[in-house]
């Protein structure tokens, strides 16, 4: 690791050093005294994000109610306080963290809350029955957990040490819903009194850490040692075995629980991390072939898979539209998007509530209806930027575990967005996944905010000891 050069120190506005000093103390001093450009950029962006969120809620009220209702103001201010608390925490413990990640997450989360609130207004629900109030509560919990993670986790290498624990935790989280009742045909929920959460969302986090950790240790042996079969090099069982077992177990559990969306997500995550770690494209091809084969077999054997694919291929036919579990939701979502057109119907002035599950599965279509293609492009751009900031850590980081973990986490968010919005816009069949930050769902929020915290921590570590100049 090269020592930090004085040139980069100067760029951060540090006082000019007279001579050689101990790296530890000088670094410490700089961290306390230098006004960090990163954090200032972040502050401005956060203010803009909070202003946008506030105006979104106002517009929803004006559009749907025709008047302004200040009762939501306290909750909104409370959340903003938490977000700024996180910002302050970053100023203290992670000054070099990426300035874009937190504002993007805040903005997406706020837009989601505004749309869920709009749907509550259409419903006429009050108080704790309002999905938006619950979403605000979960956001607060998620923010608190994110702040905790970023404060407690001073170095991501701690995660590396516990990678096997995370594997176990991941499997346990996945298996838990089996012991509870299925909801909407899928066995992915755990009901604890009035609260329900999806362990699968947190499971993806645990498995990402495990995959990153394991692949870092085994990448050399995986990519170089092995037996050649049909032109492809296959690693030894003792190298690939453990990870394959964990992966196969999670797949089996997911398929058994009919949670195909999460299965697809994990599969994509695994494949990408394997590829990035080992550089073997042939395995990716093999993996994709296996996936397509498995999907084809599933569509024949499992009726609901075949039904989903049928509804996707022939969504507008009368039989599929009227069938139970057919394409009704898909078609209504598409109608909603079309109703939005280029500039949207306006917040509070569309009819997103016509589509079933408009506040969770179809939050994107609801936003698309009221914000139009312009809004859709903005949301997609925000997600793309979020993912790219994660990838930047992958490019610029210098320890492989951190790079791999960052790439894995960023990719899983991007892939999830693709799977959900691809399903809504009929690029691929619908699954049960949630749109990160936007959709109503506590577990999804918690998992994604923890991802935010981890990415911020990783980006801070990367910037704190730069190997390449990033600016």
């Amino acid at each position: 690791m090269t020592a930090p050069t004085s040139a980069t120190k100067k760029a951060v506005g540090a006082p000019i050093e007279a001579g050689p000093v101990s790296t530890f103390t000088s670094g410490f001093r700089i961290r306390l005294r230098a006004p960090s450009r990163m954090r200032n950029v972040e502050l401005v962006l956060l203010l803009i994000a909070c202003a946008l969120n506030g105006s979104a809620i106002l517009l929803v009220q004006l559009g749907a109610l025709g008047a302004v209702d200040w009762s939501l103001a306290t909750l909104g201010i409370g959340l903003s306080v938490l977000v700024f608390a996180m910002h302050i925490a970053l100023r203290i413990v992670a000054t070099e963290a990426d300035p874009f990640i937190l504002p993007i997450a805040t903005l997406l989360n706020g837009l989601g809350i505004a749309m869920i609130y709009r749907l509550d207004l259409a419903d006429g629900s009050e108080g704790w029955a309002m999905a938006s109030v619950r979403q605000i509560a979960w956001t607060a919990i998620a923010l608190a957990l994110a702040i905790a993670v970023i404060v407690v986790l001073k170095n991501h290498r701690v995660l590396f040490r516990f990678r096997l624990t995370f594997a176990l935790v991941g499997i346990v989280l996945l298996v838990m819903p089996v012991f509870f009742r299925p909801v909407n045909g899928a066995n992915i929920w755990v009901q604890l009194g009035p609260f329900s959460f999806q362990p699968g969302e947190l499971g993806k986090l645990a498995l990402a850490i495990f995959f990153a950790g394991y692949l870092v240790t085994a990448r050399d042996s995986l990519s170089m040692i092995g037996r050649k079969v049909l032109g492809l090099t296959f690693p030894r069982a003792r190298d690939l075995g453990p990870i394959l077992v964990v992966f196969a177990a999670s797949m089996a559990v997911l398929v058994f629980q009919k949670d195909l969306g999460t299965a697809l997500l994990y599969f994509g995550l695994f494949l990408v991390m394997l590829y990035v770690a080992t550089g073997r494209a042939s395995w990716v091809v093999l993996g994709l072939a296996l996936f397509l084969g498995g999907a084809f077999a599933a569509s024949r054997v499992l009726s609901y898979v075949g039904g989903r694919i049928n509804s996707w291929l022939d969504a507008f036919s009368t039989t599929n539209y009227e069938a139970d579990g057919g394409s009704y939701q898909l078609v209504q979502g598409i109608f909603g998007l079309a109703n939005g057109g280029l500039i949207g119907q306006g917040l509070g002035q569309g009819r997103p509530y016509v589509t079933p599950l408009a506040e969770s599965d179809y939050i994107f279509a609801s936003l698309g209806e009221e914000l139009g293609l312009v809004g859709v492009f903005a949301i997609l751009a925000l997600y793309l930027l979020f993912v790219s900031r994660g990838f930047r850590i992958g490019f610029a980081g210098q320890d492989d575990f951190g790079r791999l973990l960052a790439v894995g986490l960023a990719f899983v968010v991007g892939l999830q967005v693709f799977i959900v919005i691809g399903g809504v816009t009929r690029v691929i069949p619908l699954t049960g996944l949630t749109t990160p930050f936007l959709a109503a769902g506590g577990s999804s929020l918690v998992a994604n905010w923890i991802i935010v915290a981890l990415l911020l921590r990783l980006s801070d570590t990367v910037r704190g000891q730069p190997r390449t100049v990033i600016e």
Partner: protein, 485 residues
């Protein structure tokens, strides 16, 4: 690792690009077909927030949208529903519309091309445009008189202004109340109401004036026959035909007779004028055989037979059959066999004769006015066809006047007014009640109204009543109502 990372970044980029494209396809490229899909309730609900324009008769709304506090914003209310039902039709939330509600739907919902500027303004201001109001040509006094005249009978009355084609009255009985179909109660209730109306054996949903099963015209078809004869130049009103009391249909064992039995007014021969005045079947059967079906059909089509007339609702085309043998031709010559007409068609026949041989396009629309009081459509009388020359028309006017003053249509006489007209008593089948008709116009010298009255079911008297007994007095009442205006 960087090389792999670059490739994965490209994959992410490609995935998001797909999403950009798929969203654009749905929200911009395929918008029209998606918005036009019948299952798209959002478009339907949007249409509900427009205040639909009223349908007016003499400036008074007979159908208007009143604001209500529910998801559909406006309730369509029909004042005096059954009276105007054949004209207005009904408007439902999602089961379709009929009548003027359907034919003038674009104007009423504010989406017609003429209201394009209004729509643009609405887009900018965020409000929905209001619909235009449609003023009808119906005269409320005449409409009510026709309704009262029909009484408890099933049938229809159509009254037209022969000079302009404006429809002054259109009544169909048994009628129904469109309010039960426009109601905002559940779709199931509306469908129930509809099914009940469908199941009613008196078929209230059918507008007998322009649609339904149509009727055999019986003797009123003789007007068309006379027009065909006189227009050819080879016949005059004095042309004579043999005058037996019975005629054997060519090539059959069947005999036909005149309505009263006996010959046509005595004498060895009967003229066309006499046959028309006294409504004799046998001379017309002979006339028909002599002219041949093509000549008759040609004249019928000039009057509008075989054509769907748009008023603006589409009236079912009246039928003069083709490919007949001699016996069928003879039967068709006095409005039997497969001749089928609507009251509107027969009123048009009378209107053409009344207007010097020029048939004006019948219409219900007086004017269409946008919410800002701009007139976007006003009635321009147009010629439908010229079935007969002015001379033939004048001759026929005289013949028809004779038919009322001194003939089979005597019950249509109005003191001080020359009424022209023809009655009809159509047979429907073995033992079936007759269909009773009157068609004509008044005053003969300067006609203000042409009328057609049809009464089903023999006027409740099976085969014991005839056109002059039942239909003519009804027509007289309606004619009097018009003349009193």
């Amino acid at each position: 690792m960087n090389k792999e990372l670059r490739r994965v970044s490209a994959v992410i980029l490609a995935m998001f690009l797909t999403l950009f494209i798929s969203s654009s396809v749905i929200q911009v490229i395929a918008v029209n077909s998606l918005q036009g899909d019948g299952r798209n309730v959002r478009v339907l609900y949007d249409s509900f927030s427009t205040e639909r324009g009223p349908i007016l008769v003499d400036g008074v709304p007979i159908a208007e949208s009143q604001p209500v506090d529910d998801a559909y914003s406006y309730l369509r209310v029909y004042a005096n529903g059954p009276l105007y039902a054949p004209v207005t039709g009904y408007l439902t939330l999602n089961q379709g519309n009929t009548g003027i509600e359907d034919a003038m739907n674009e104007e009423l919902s504010g989406t017609s091309d003429a209201q394009f500027i209004d729509q643009v303004n609405a887009l900018i201001s965020g409000q929905n445009p209001k619909g235009a109001s449609v003023e009808l040509t119906i005269d409320p006094v005449v409409q009510q008189a026709a309704w009262d005249a029909l009484g408890d009978n099933t049938g229809a009355i159509v009254a037209i202004d022969p000079k302009t084609g404006k429809i002054l009255a259109m009544v169909s009985k048994e009628s129904y109340d469109p309010n039960v179909l426009a109601s905002h109660e559940s779709t199931a209730t509306v469908i129930e109401n509809y099914q009940a109306l469908l199941a009613n054996p008196n078929k209230p949903l059918i507008n007998r004036a322009i649609a339904g099963d149509l009727y055999h015209p019986g003797s009123i078809f003789k007007i068309v026959m006379t027009a065909a004869a006189l227009s050819g130049g080879d016949y005059t009103p004095e042309s004579e035909f043999p005058n037996p009391g019975q005629l054997q249909l060519t090539g059959t064992e069947t005999f036909i007779s005149n309505a009263e039995g006996g010959s046509c007014g005595g004498g060895a021969t009967a003229s066309i004028a006499t046959a028309l005045r006294l409504s004799c079947n046998i001379p017309f059967a002979q006339l028909g055989e002599a002219m041949g079906e093509d000549r008759i059909r040609d004249m019928a089509e000039r009057f509008g037979f075989g054509k769907k007339v748009s008023i603006p609702m589409t009236a079912t085309a009246s039928i003069y059959p083709s490919g007949m043998d001699s016996a069928q031709l003879q039967l068709s010559s006095f409005g039997q066999f497969d001749d089928k007409v609507t009251p509107l068609q027969m009123a048009m026949v009378s209107a053409a004769i009344a207007n010097g041989g020029v048939l004006m396009q019948p219409t219900l629309i007086e004017s269409v006015t946008a919410p800002d009081l701009r007139v976007i459509q006003s009635s321009q009388p147009s010629v439908f066809s010229t079935p007969v020359s002015g001379d033939v028309a004048a001759t026929m006017v005289q013949m028809l006047v004779n038919g009322v003053s001194n003939g089979a249509a005597s019950n249509a006489r109005i003191s001080g007014v020359d009424v022209a007209g023809k009655t009809g008593t159509a047979e429907n089948g073995e033992g079936e009640p007759y269909t009773l008709w009157f068609t004509g116009f008044a005053p003969a010298n300067d006609p203000r109204v042409a009328i057609a009255v049809v009464v089903e079911n023999g006027g409740g008297r099976g085969q014991n009543a005839f056109g002059n007994l039942v239909a003519a007095p009804m027509a007289k009442k309606v004619l009097e109502a018009v003349l009193s205006r």
